[in-house]
């Protein structure tokens, strides 16, 4: 490992309206090193990388490449400076071959295209870095992992010395992820600098030489990977003053090491608790859009008057879980029960007809029709019920009354019910969804990130309403990546990682730090053993 500095970012600051996304961040990349960049969602990782790749211009600070101050104004500048980026979503032309994608937009010196020669050059570069890809293969015939290799090859072919990988393993199977790590290590040995963005601690420990942690737009920690450990990184990532939340140490260890056994019994022994539970999920397997298994054998129950919080980093199967238990996505294996009815094969309509309330993750694209007025959105899911239509004709007076009640009951501020919902504030939109979903006295509420994008007042209102529902005896499944939200509301916490249940803890036995660690992929026994040692 050399100490040559390839890129140095000094005091980089980037502001967006109302947000300080990057606050005077320093970052140094050495040649021949894999540098991990860790942080929760919204910590500023992507912004920083977009600054380095020329997609954003920093408001303050400077960037030095090979010791020279540079202004990276566009991705083209970044590439010409030897900086390459592999995005989470690949930028490949699917009907083209690997070689065609790689030489796309490059000036190969001649007006005529010599594909054969290009293929040879691509194959050479691939061989040099031991990247196993057929230059003649069509992109749409390749697996996700292979496509990612094409992206890496693409950067290398353009002479990249610095490679930015934005959560590269998020889209990969575990085997593909292992292969990627081998490739990245090989590239580092040949003197490349690699910036590896992730929130999976396991991987960061395995692949990186050095690690930087961002939190709330600031750099809070940097160390050589060998000098730190997962616990420390998790602590830095989540950034809790331990003293604020510290519970009795011995009780904590008990909870993790001992009580976990009891909990294990609870969630495996689904049969006996089936009777009193509102929602029972047993050995659920669900595939995602890419046909990979996203939920692998999840089991849990929710009882009346209980909020079960699902903690997990985005993209660990939460979306697929919600879609499976609301009838949007087929269930490959396992069962779902609503009280004593098996609902494994239910359609979305069935769930709606049984008043299962859903607060969708993206209220503007899934929960509401923004160009419709409040009246239409209020009855969006129930317009065909006898209270709102007769002989297929809508009963506008009934809809007017109903919407008026929702507006009054939930303090939705709107000039009148005729305005387009898109003109309302995010908080009022969410109130409308809440009002609509709670109006049918649900026995189960599935709330996916219910306070996403809301200001403090609106978020508190949403929490209040969910709490009221719990008191009424409703079972609530709360999915969130925000630990504050989960801790504020949940009765029990389920930690979800790569589509599996890592553990279910009663809230009084959980602490933010260990949950944060588990979200990043540490098993409970690891945490317990570390704590007790």
């Amino acid at each position: 490992m050399t100490n040559d500095i390839s890129v140095q970012m000094k005091g980089v600051t980037k502001r967006f309206p109302g947000v300080l996304a990057n606050d005077h961040i320093d970052l140094t990349l050495h040649a021949g090193e894999v540098h991990g960049l860790l942080g929760e969602n919204g910590a500023g990782k992507s912004t920083l990388m977009n600054v380095l790749f020329g997609l954003y211009t920093p408001d303050e600070g400077e960037i030095l490449v090979n010791g020279q101050p540079v202004a990276i104004t566009s991705p083209a500048t970044a590439i010409s400076l030897g900086i390459g980026m592999v995005h989470q979503h690949f930028k490949l032309v699917r009907p083209f071959t690997v070689t065609e994608n790689i030489i796309l937009g490059l000036d190969e010196g001649s007006p005529l295209l010599d594909l054969k020669a290009a293929e040879r050059r691509v194959a050479e570069v691939a061989e040099q870095y031991a990247i196993n890809v057929d230059p003649r293969a069509l992109i749409h015939d390749l697996s996700v992992g292979q496509q990612q290799r094409v992206e890496i090859l693409n950067s290398l072919y353009r002479g990249a010395n610095v490679l930015i990988l934005d959560e590269p393993t998020a889209v990969l199977t575990p085997q593909e992820a292992d292969d990627l790590i081998v490739t990245l290590r090989g590239m580092a040995e040949q003197g490349k600098s690699i910036l590896f963005i992730s929130h999976k601690l396991e991987e960061v420990m395995k692949v990186t030489d050095r690690v930087t942690v961002l939190r709330g737009g600031r750099k809070v920690f940097e160390a050589l990977t060998k000098d730190t450990d997962k616990q420390q990184l998790a602590r830095e990532m989540i950034g809790r003053q331990i003293s604020d939340l510290e519970r009795d140490e011995s009780a904590f260890v008990m909870a993790l090491a001992g009580a976990g056994e009891d909990l294990g019994i609870e969630h495996h022994d689904v049969g006996s608790s089936q009777k009193q539970a509102i929602l029972t999920v047993s050995d659920l397997h669900v595939k995602d859009d890419r046909d990979l298994t996203a939920v692998r054998g999840m089991s849990f129950v929710i009882h009346p008057g209980e909020i079960l919080g699902i903690a997990g980093v985005d993209g660990n199967g939460q979306r697929e879980l919600v879609e499976a238990i609301t009838g949007q996505r087929p269930i490959e294996q396992g069962q779902v029960w609503l009280e004593e009815t098996e609902t494994t094969k239910w359609s979305t309509r069935d769930y709606i007809n049984h008043n299962v309330a859903v607060i969708t993750e993206d209220r503007q694209k899934e929960g509401l029709v923004l160009e419709f007025n409040l009246l239409r959105n209020a009855v969006l899911k129930i317009f065909d019920r006898p209270s709102f239509s007769k002989n297929k004709l809508l009963k506008f007076n009934a809809i007017d009354d109903f919407t008026g009640k929702l507006i009054d009951g939930f303090n939705i501020s709107t000039p009148n019910p005729q305005v387009e919902v898109g003109t309302l504030s995010g908080g009022n939109q969410q109130k409308l969804i809440l009002a609509r979903e709670l109006s049918q006295s649900p026995s189960l509420i599935i709330a996916n990130k219910p306070k996403r994008g809301l200001d403090i007042g609106a978020a508190a209102y949403v929490h209040q309403k969910l709490d009221d529902e719990r008191k009424r005896g409703t079972a609530i499944l709360l999915i969130s990546g925000d630990l504050d939200e989960l801790f504020a509301l949940s009765d029990r916490l389920l930690v979800m990682y790569e589509g599996q249940v890592l553990g279910i803890l009663p809230i009084e036995n959980a602490d933010i730090e260990s949950i944060g660690l588990m979200m990043a992929g540490s098993s409970r026994s690891e945490i317990a053993s570390n704590r007790s040692s």
Partner: protein
């Protein structure tokens, strides 16, 4: 209580005005641009527009002729507006009209021994089915194979036009028609009753007005609501458990059926036989009329009437003032452009 209803009435008027004024302004601007073109080409725009107006409204005969022209425009506009409000850019009204005309004519010619009271409903149903099947092809391709309906419907238009040409030059050609490309006349007892002595205005016009009422009811029904939800967002529609694919197919079937009905009206009300030119230009006119009417049934009554006047008056203008009919096409074109750009021109200014 009265205060509240007063307030609601006030809101509604403002909403209506917001919808109407971009369309009205588009029309006026198009007429002004047309006038400037006339000036540049050395003609008197005032005189030309005067002859246009008198051509469309100058006598009771002219006026009824405008209503006759308006009939298919209105039915086709209602047809495409249902697709448009479902987010389906069906531009195949022309082909669907042709298939409706072909199917209903074929029934009338083949079963001419039946009494008119049986044959008229039968031909009407045949026309609806003919149009619906034609658009249904595009609907199924859209719903289940995600084929772009702009392409499929316009390709189906070509097929329909050439199918019609083949039929009136071949299998359905009138044996006593002096080799003209047209079918035999339907039995005169099958002709739709006239509404006014000496004019061509017939029952089809009443059918069009009934369809306006039906369209208003449709948008107040659960099916209409579902149509608009699917049109606004397929994603929301799926989230609330609507069968998006079936809705798309259903809506294209309804649209096609209405266009087929327009074809039936043209045959049994006006031409009494299949002719090659039965649908020329109607498809694109239907789109303009629908858009100018803001896809609202009442709005489309107004715009269909204006366009019929423009066409009838334009013909008269060509004859009496020597102004080429192409001017009408220019005005049409300018209106399309302004309507398409209206969200930028008008709404941007409003905010």
């Amino acid at each position: 209580m009265t205060a509240i209803s007063e307030q609601i009435r006030h809101i509604k008027w403002r909403a209506i005005w917001r919808q109407v004024y971009p369309a009205a302004l588009s029309l006026i601007l198009a007429l002004v641009i047309g006038g400037l073109l006339l000036l540049v080409s050395g003609r008197d725009p005032i005189a030309a527009y005067q002859s246009l107006l008198s051509g469309a409204f100058g006598s009771s005969n002219r006026f009824t002729e405008t209503l006759v022209k308006m009939t298919p425009f209105l039915i086709l506009a209602i047809s495409v507006s249902i697709s448009f409000r479902c987010g389906i850019w069906n531009i195949g009204a022309e082909g669907q009209l042709i298939l409706g005309a072909v199917a209903s004519t074929w029934v009338a010619l083949s079963f001419s021994f039946l009494p008119p009271l049986i044959i008229l409903p039968l031909t009407m149903i045949a026309g609806i089915i003919g149009g619906a099947l034609w658009s249904g092809i595009a609907g199924v391709l859209k719903a289940y194979f995600n084929a772009n309906e702009v392409i499929t419907t316009s390709m189906l238009n070509f097929i329909a036009v050439y199918l019609l040409a083949f039929l009136v030059n071949g299998p359905l050609k009138d044996p006593e028609g002096f080799n003209f490309p047209q079918s035999a006349l339907i039995d005169s007892s099958f002709e739709l009753p006239r509404l006014l002595e000496g004019s061509r205005l017939n029952i089809a016009f009443i059918v069009a007005l009934i369809l306006v009422v039906a369209a208003i009811m449709y948008w107040r029904s659960t099916v209409g609501f579902r149509t608009e939800i699917v049109g606004a967002s397929r994603r929301v529609a799926r989230h609330i458990g609507l069968n998006v694919n079936w809705t798309i197919v259903l809506v294209t079937l309804i649209s096609g059926g209405l266009a087929g009905l327009a074809g039936w009206g043209e045959i049994f009300g006006l031409h009494f036989r299949l002719i090659e030119a039965i649908a020329i230009g109607m498809g694109s006119l239907a789109v303009v009329v629908a858009l100018l009417g803001e896809l609202h049934p009442i709005g489309m009554v107004v715009s269909a009437f204006l366009f019929a006047a423009l066409v009838v008056g334009g013909n008269a203008m060509e004859r009496s003032a020597g102004v080429p009919f192409a001017l009408v096409d220019v005005i049409q074109g300018v209106i399309i452009l302004l309507i398409l750009a209206r969200s930028y021109i008008f709404r941007a200014r409003a905010s």
